[in-house]
Point group: C2
Chain length 170, copies 2
């Protein structure tokens, strides 16, 4: 009887070690993390470009304007804007169907994306001809490309402007 | 009795429309999408930089080497490498604790990241001094920065080399 129990224990031990050896998943010492999303909370249903280069390529090839959205995870103004944009059915739908979207928490090396300096949140539109639309601005004179949560209608107007593509004769 | 039922229906109708008006979540016509992750399957527990600029900044400020991993979602070689790397406890742990990591599905404009051309998968190490380590190569003469699933030990040796930081006297 004791031998039978021992054999059973050995078999069980072999099974459990076989399972743990190959399939040991890495978990950081600090605990399991929630996978990072490319949306960073600005709309999980949108297809986000990862980099400016990728976004420009998509914009050109699909002939859709690009919205580049600079923000910071810890900035309360960014968080407030993120909340209203992520929860706006209308804006999400327009962005999904008619725009290429990119959100960045880090500045690029392209100076055209900082027409009046680096700040967040900052919304810049780029034409499929790869022209940064510095003419499409929000309601604030000191930070031309900033929008606050109460400015959704201004943002929608800016999006309308961006959709009227620049005619470029090549 | 009929009036009571009608009132009840009106109240129920009002409640349901109140719910649907404010909280209507955007779902694309093509159906609900799975949110994109920054890991793109290469290790959900790692903290991935989004862009090369961000990765360089982290590498410099944390004094850790950077691994830039070029791949494509539809490339079978990328998929095979992704599987073995995502499932390797050892590689995930080293990458998490001792490296800055960036995976890109699109080329950057920096020519230093294409020492022998553009192909995927391609593994390039960058020193915290912002020097691309073109000297750290895999086992293939025709594609110096490529590794196949059976080359995990070579990749680990490359990672060891990258951890020996270049001494830069400024």
């Amino acid at each position: 009887m004791i031998r039978a129990v021992l054999s059973l224990l050995l078999v069980l031990g072999a099974i459990s070690s076989a399972f743990s050896a190959g399939d040991k998943k890495y978990i950081p010492k600090t605990g399991k993390r929630i996978p990072q999303t490319l949306s960073r909370g600005w709309g999980d249903q949108l297809i986000w470009a990862q980099t400016y280069e990728e976004a420009l390529y998509w914009s050109r090839s699909k002939n859709k304007p690009l919205l580049v959205l600079f923000h910071l995870e810890d900035c309360p103004h960014s968080q407030a804007m993120r909340k209203v944009i992520a929860n706006s059915y209308e804006i999400q739908k327009i962005l999904d169907e008619e725009f290429i979207v990119l959100n960045l928490v880090y500045e690029t090396t392209d100076k055209n994306l900082t027409p009046d300096g680096q700040y967040v949140p900052r919304f810049l539109f780029v034409d499929p001809s790869m022209t940064v639309r510095a003419d499409i601005v929000g309601p604030y004179g000191n930070r031309l490309y900033a929008y606050e949560p109460q400015d959704l209608d201004v943002l929608k107007k800016s999006m309308e402007k961006a959709k009227k593509l620049l005619k470029v004769e090549l």
